[in-house]
């Protein structure tokens, strides 16, 4: 226990060690997170009236970001499956970064839910009268928190073993890895069911929502992983092979094709049938009764997705990683728009009584959202900052070598990757 606390203390200490660029980056994220906290305090005092939400559009950017980030968290599995099921060894020592990304994403998800509550001070009622299994929201609470624990356990255990120079015990890792695979699919399916189970909202009340959630998550998540791994490769001495990025590239491409196919299925069903159900889709893609706030957004998203997909298919993104990076960034933004605002807001427009009220986030609510993103990125940065020296044997129970100030740009090729089994 004492040894473990010491480990935590050393990790804590290590997370502040780095070059000026690292400190600047931490300071930058910290300031944005504080600005977000300040905005949240204002919201806590004056109520959700500080947001752009209304009784007509009763969920906004918070829930939109939440939905998107559940997908990012779930997509860690796209590193785990190739490694543990298809034995793709080039990804083996990168899995841990996917799992840590899931941790940061889930924490962001939970924060987005908390800031959306009208009475966060009564959140403990969730534990006192948990409406399980009737309310799908309770399923989501279990799914998200369970996934968080799984993803804290697996990398946490491996890192602690590496710190103690111990070989990880198989039974403490492998069963949890397989549970986590199933769990990852479940978190996103359950989140989709939050929406698709509502008969009142025809735009969401569709069986394709869950598969489409998974497809878009498995495109956006690995796209983000590619970008993060590129950064890890650039800023630390951790080894990231080109082949690993290319494996992720094919995952992104296939998932994106499935996503676009499902989108086509949705379009056909909505627009060919042309029943009264099509109103929300019309509002999203074409505008309804002269109201069209989301149209430029969704068209931008579509354009980004199409260009990204084209770049991904072309051999140039295999030859030049820079092109792959650009494609991934475009795709990430495209899906963030499509699955966040593009999914949540039109569900409320028109209202069940046919009223068309548009929604625009306020400055305050945007600041809160940015603050949560900064907080998540800060957490991820620190997790990576700790993981790299521990796994590469520079921070162990009896050696605390300070690669310190020069860590940022010191590249060393011959570092041993940890063996998971």
């Amino acid at each position: 226990m004492k040894a473990y606390l010491k480990f935590l203390y050393r990790c804590f200490k290590r997370s502040f060690v780095g070059g000026w660029k690292y400190h600047l980056w931490l300071g930058f994220l910290f300031v944005i997170a504080l600005v977000g906290l300040n905005a949240y305090c204002r919201q806590y005092v004056y109520g959700l009236g500080t947001t752009g939400m209304t009784d007509q559009v009763s969920w906004g950017v918070y829930i939109a970001n939440f939905t998107f980030l559940v997908g990012v968290a779930a997509s860690a599995v796209m590193l785990v499956i190739p490694v543990y099921i298809y034995k793709r060894e080039e990804l083996h020592h990168l899995v841990i970064f996917g799992e840590l990304l899931a941790v940061a994403a889930i924490i962001m998800c939970l924060l987005f839910i908390v800031v959306d509550l009208g009475r966060p001070d009564q959140m403990h009622h969730m534990m006192l009268r948990f409406h399980f299994p009737v309310s799908i929201l309770t399923w989501d609470v279990i799914a998200l928190n369970g996934y968080l624990l799984l993803n804290l356990h697996i990398p946490g255990y491996l890192i602690y073993c590496a710190y103690n120079k111990r070989k990880p015990h198989k039974n403490f890792v492998i069963p949890f890895v397989f549970i986590a695979i199933a769990w990852a699919i479940s978190i996103h399916t359950v989140t989709a069911f939050l929406y698709s189970g509502l008969g009142a909202r025809p735009f969401w009340n569709s069986a394709v929502i869950a598969p489409r959630f998974l497809a878009s998550a498995f495109a956006a998540g690995p796209a983000l992983l590619i970008i993060t791994l590129q950064m890890i490769r650039h800023f630390t001495h951790w080894r990231v092979e080109r082949q690993a990025l290319l494996t992720l590239r094919s995952i992104v491409t296939v998932a994106m094709f499935i996503n676009m196919f499902l989108l086509g299925c949705e379009w056909f069903t909505e627009f060919y049938t042309d029943s009264t159900h099509v109103a929300s889709a019309k509002y999203l893609y074409l505008g309804l009764d002269g109201k069209s706030a989301l149209v430029p957004w969704i068209r931008t998203s579509f354009a980004l997705n199409m260009i990204a997909l084209m770049l991904l298919v072309l051999p140039i993104s295999r030859r030049r990683l820079r092109v792959l990076n650009i494609a991934c960034i475009m795709l990430f933004i495209g899906i963030w728009i499509e699955k966040g605002m593009g999914l949540i807001i039109p569900g409320f427009i028109p209202t069940p009584l046919g009223e068309i009220v548009e929604y625009t986030p306020t400055l305050n609510e945007t600041l809160i959202s940015l603050g949560i993103w900064a907080c998540g990125i800060l957490i991820y940065t620190i997790l990576v900052r700790i993981t790299v020296p521990v796994l590469s044997g520079r921070l162990t129970k009896d050696a605390e070598s300070f690669d310190g100030g020069r860590l940022d740009f010191a590249k060393e090729e011959d570092l041993t990757a940890i063996n998971y089994q």
Binding site: F16, F30, V31, L34, V35, L37, N38, C41, R42, Y44, V45, Y46, G47, L48, G49, T51, M53, T54, D55, Q56, S58, W59, I113, D116, L117, G118, R119, D121, Q122, M123, H125, M126, L128, R129, F130, H131, V134, S135, I136, L137, T138, V141, G197, L198, G199, A200, T276, G347, F348, P350, T351, P352, L353, G354, E355, D398, A399, E400, S401, F402
Partner: protein, 345 residues
């Protein structure tokens, strides 16, 4: 300065523990002193910034502050008589402090053998919105922004599609030609999707069919708002503003007591009136007699007779919510049909 030396002692005492760490103690000694000063400066700066970020909390009004009493209050269904009395006393005190008058607040239970049903005559409704305003006055809703439980749609003839309705009609006189009027409020469904989705059971259906909300239990997630096909629920986006003179002091725990900010509310069929034999406020004020209310379990009641004899429909039957709110027309089924129906029964 004092702290600084303490830190040095700590780090030197740590050195033996970290065995063989070349860099851990020896080469780290000098930088530690300097970096400690820097670290404490950064930490102090960070802490100050965090405190500054929390500053808006100072403006939190006293009655919005979380208290132990509120924190420990149980769910409505778990409270015994004494606990309910404690809660009512607390609420009564809060209301008295805020509105300078002592309310008559009780917890009114459903009556045995009663299931309430509403019937609204579309032939008669003229869209005057008197029901909307009577409801606001009766139920202590926020006046600014004004929260209304009833939404009256001005419908063009020839359709019942609500998307064709006008929510914001504003003629000098009603009814306008070529339109009919369809007021919508909580339908008190027998299969309520809002109850199903609530993660904390803050909303449920009572024995007399009324779906209620425990405002002290709601966490304000607004999932029920998303789930309602009749757009019947309202959320308190800010602290409800209600002038002192407008308070209706006759109130009950589950209906019209003043709500805090951040919780959901809706029509309760005026249960503080109807559970004591009175009619809902919207019905009493209706100038045309378009609104009918009563016990559907009593075959002689007016609503039972309407359901039996008049042409009746429910809104959005396809969503399967089984509303207890019916729309009907003056026109009745032909008497012969009625006789036949009686025979077959």
């Amino acid at each position: 300065m004092n702290q600084n030396t303490k830190q040095n002692q700590e780090s030197s005492s740590n050195t033996p523990a970290s065995v063989g760490g070349c860099s851990g103690g020896s080469c780290g000694d000098k930088p530690t002193r300097r970096s400690f000063l820097r670290t404490s400066a950064v930490a102090a700066g960070g802490l100050a910034a965090a405190m500054a970020a929390l500053k808006p909390l100072m403006e939190l009004e006293s009655e919005d502050r979380p208290t132990v009493e509120k924190f420990l209050q149980k769910h409505y269904k778990e409270m015994d008589g004494d606990e309910m009395q404690t809660a009512l006393t607390r609420i009564s005190k809060e209301v008295e402090k805020r509105f300078d008058q002592r309310p008559d607040i009780r917890d009114i239970k459903p009556m045995d053998g009663v299931e309430f049903v509403y019937a609204l005559n579309l032939t008669r409704c003229i869209g005057c919105r008197k029901c909307v305003h009577a409801c606001v006055a009766e139920n202590n809703q926020s006046r600014s922004p004004e929260i209304q439980y009833i939404r009256v749609l001005e419908m063009p003839r020839g359709t019942t599609n609500v998307e064709k309705g006008n929510h914001h009609y504003d003629h000098p006189t009603v009814p306008s030609d070529d339109h009919y009027y369809m007021p919508v409020q909580c339908h008190q469904c027998a299969n309520p999707p809002c109850v199903k989705v609530c993660p904390v059971e803050a909303t449920w259906q009572e024995a007399d069919g009324i779906t209620v909300i425990d405002y002290d239990w709601c966490i304000g997630c607004r999932y029920c708002e998303a789930a309602c096909p009749y757009w019947a629920r309202r959320f308190n986006f800010t602290k409800p503003k209600l002038p002192k003179k407008d308070l209706n002091p006759k109130m009950s725990y589950l209906s019209n007591r003043p709500r805090p900010k951040g919780v959901v509310e809706k029509c309760t069929f005026c249960l503080h009136r109807t559970r004591e034999g009175k009619m809902p406020a919207c019905l009493e004020v209706c100038p045309t007699g378009a609104r009918k209310f009563g016990n559907v379990l009593d075959p002689e009641s007016e609503v039972s007779q309407i359901l039996k004899n008049n042409r009746v429909f429910v809104l959005k039957e396809e969503v399967g919510t089984l509303p207890r709110f019916f729309y009907y027309f003056d026109e009745r089924y032909p008497a012969s049909d009625e006789a036949k129906a009686d025979k077959t029964a």
